[in-house]
Symmetry: C2
Subunit: 369 residues, 2 copies
């Protein structure tokens, strides 16, 4: 997508620097566009853990590039496979909830170990990383093409009146390699000339909505308004929301969806007010091994300081302010699980389906047991 | 309640300065305890509008003291009643949602105009202000004595295991003259030795939970943990919440409750997880004239900058940080309405009742039409 009119992806290699992985350090957005070059699998793992990069798809793609750098590193060591597996384990433990991470690392591991010489393995790793990133972008584009039909239908019913869409957190292009999942239908609808407006949940504690989604939409020229996470229920009660679309970090076989903490509350309000609630995800975010999301999806417990301190721009610098008494403890779960019963449908790269095992398997029949 | 071991109310007159109304300027909490002395009805109205004081009960008591200062002012003018009515209108328009404000001003107006000489009227106004403040504190104390039974019952069922209570915003002693509404049963239960712990919603955008409720609980030595407004649903899904108690800014005849924005979302999650959700209020927060809270309660639309900027302690000063792109718009509704169907019960100074017109009128039979 575009930033100040220039085309970017969230992760890339420069041809002149094939051993450096470039990313946008998202911790400085929306205030500064900072490009960082990562030179080792350790730096990649740190970038994932510290959330220089975040979002289901981008975590996966970054880990895939991490495995590429790990292959270069392993090639200089005595025990290639042992070294590579260590790197894989380190990457997988850098964030626990997004299934794309595990998926990308395992996919790379299998592909790389298929190769013969170390050079061949490095070449495979690079090709696979690029393929995973390209596929991520392509899947998001497809999600946009399928999901736009939902927005078009609502626009038809509203006879040209503005379609109001609420989203939580950032499942935009910054969370993937390009386009985004929840935002892809919005970008597509906007390009088709549909009159729309996006309610952006600020998404405490890290404010990925206020900082990232708002910045994305602003750069694409899409009308939007930032609201507190508390506000969505009131807006829905008063007819000010026509549709909710969020992303997901992990979706089970039966359609339970782990997403940024607070998503469940919005799904409840959508249900209470009979407003459609869709979850957009590429197939890499499905966890085919599990059914009951509430029991089986591990929920990341992050540092309490993310609750106690808020980062933002102050006197032209990025600073943090303490919002609690110094001595009060805080707790910081990163995600919650929205049960399938509250989800109107899933928007995937293969099409739209209901949030149930049978309907999901209609699209992904190869995953039938 | 106590601050650093010293007893305070939220509003008082010093005997040596009978024409100065002292308040705690709550905008500096939890970082500094700042006492401000107000000397005119204009300063009182500003203190309410700018939220130096806030919370249903305290707004009412502050307005009552405002009418006392207005009476002194009116006594120096040619047209006493005209001047007093102007002050009353100014006070009533300083915040739109809390019904206590209107109630206190009208109560004072009627009482004052009953008096003969200006001196008599001033004396009546002072007595009435003190009476409204004392009654507010007493009603909160009664709410505590009734509400503690709910906590005791849960503690019995849990066989001494910690009772986890979630609250939203600040309906503590800082929102009233003393004790608080939602916190009064908590303080009473704690004093009776019940093992309890409070989940404190930070309550964006103004963070009255993180800043005020946490500070209150810390000063009383009550175990608590600050969470984001997004987190409560997840905690409820996982059995980590036994009871929710919030305050209310206005409750209709049939039990619809306007409270800080986001309360409705917590009520939905409590309902979905079959956890009791109680609203604690003194009778001054009932609006007997209306039934349908969603349609009839005016919801204050506050400055969008409260969403875009977050205040907190930074390098030992209170500063604000910008969390959105400068150019992104924001919207800031202050309250939402929780329909009676989601409320397990109301805790009032007269006892506990269900959230329905007939059950409310069982306690307040004089309000039957």
């Amino acid at each position: 997508m575009k930033v100040d009119g220039k085309y970017y992806r969230t992760i890339w290699l420069n041809e002149s620097e094939p051993r450096l992985v470039s990313i946008i350090d998202q911790r400085f957005l929306p205030h500064r566009l900072v490009i960082v070059k990562l030179r080792s699998v350790e730096e990649i793992a740190t970038a994932i853990r510290d959330m220089q990069v975040r979002g289901a798809g981008l975590i996966g793609a970054t880990a895939a590039y991490g495995m590429y750098l790990a292959t270069i590193d392993a090639g200089q060591k005595e025990h290639f496979e042992e070294s590579l597996r260590k790197s894989a384990a380190m990457l997988k433990s850098s964030r626990p909830t997004a299934v794309n991470l595990e998926w990308a690392v395992e996919f790379q591991l299998a592909a790389i170990l298929n190769g013969g010489s170390n050079e061949e393995r490095t070449a495979i790793a690079l090709r696979t990383a690029i393929r995973i990133a390209d596929e991520d972008a392509d899947h998001c584009r497809q999600i946009g093409l399928h999901g736009v039909r939902i927005i078009e239908e609502i626009a038809d019913k509203k006879n040209g009146k503005t379609v109001n869409i609420l989203t939580h957190c950032n499942a935009g292009w910054l969370a993937f390699v390009d386009y985004g999942s929840a935002t892809a239908p919005i970008y597509e609808a906007f390009n088709r000339g549909i009159d729309l407006h996006v309610w952006v949940d600020e998404t405490r504690p890290r404010n990925q909505g206020a900082g990232l989604t708002a910045w994305e939409l602003l750069n694409q020229g899409i009308p939007h308004t930032v609201i507190t996470d508390n506000a969505g229920g009131h807006l829905m009660q008063h007819g000010l929301v026509d549709l909710l679309i969020t992303g997901a970090d992990r979706v089970t076989r039966r359609g339970d969806a782990a997403n940024k903490i607070g998503t469940y509350l919005k799904a409840l309000a959508a249900h209470d007010n009979e407003i459609p609630f869709y979850v957009a995800l590429p197939s890499s975010s499905f966890d085919w091994k599990i059914r009951d999301g509430l029991i089986e999806i591990p929920i990341e417990l992050r540092n309490a300081d993310e609750v106690k301190y808020v980062y933002g721009l102050c006197e032209n610098e990025i600073k943090k302010v303490l919002i609690t008494p110094e001595a009060s403890p805080a707790l910081n779960y990163g995600f919650d699980v929205t049960p399938a019963r509250l989800i109107t449908g899933l928007i995937t790269e293969r099409g739209i389906c209901g949030a149930s095992e049978s309907e999901i398997l209609n699209l992904y029949s190869e995953k039938s047991i």
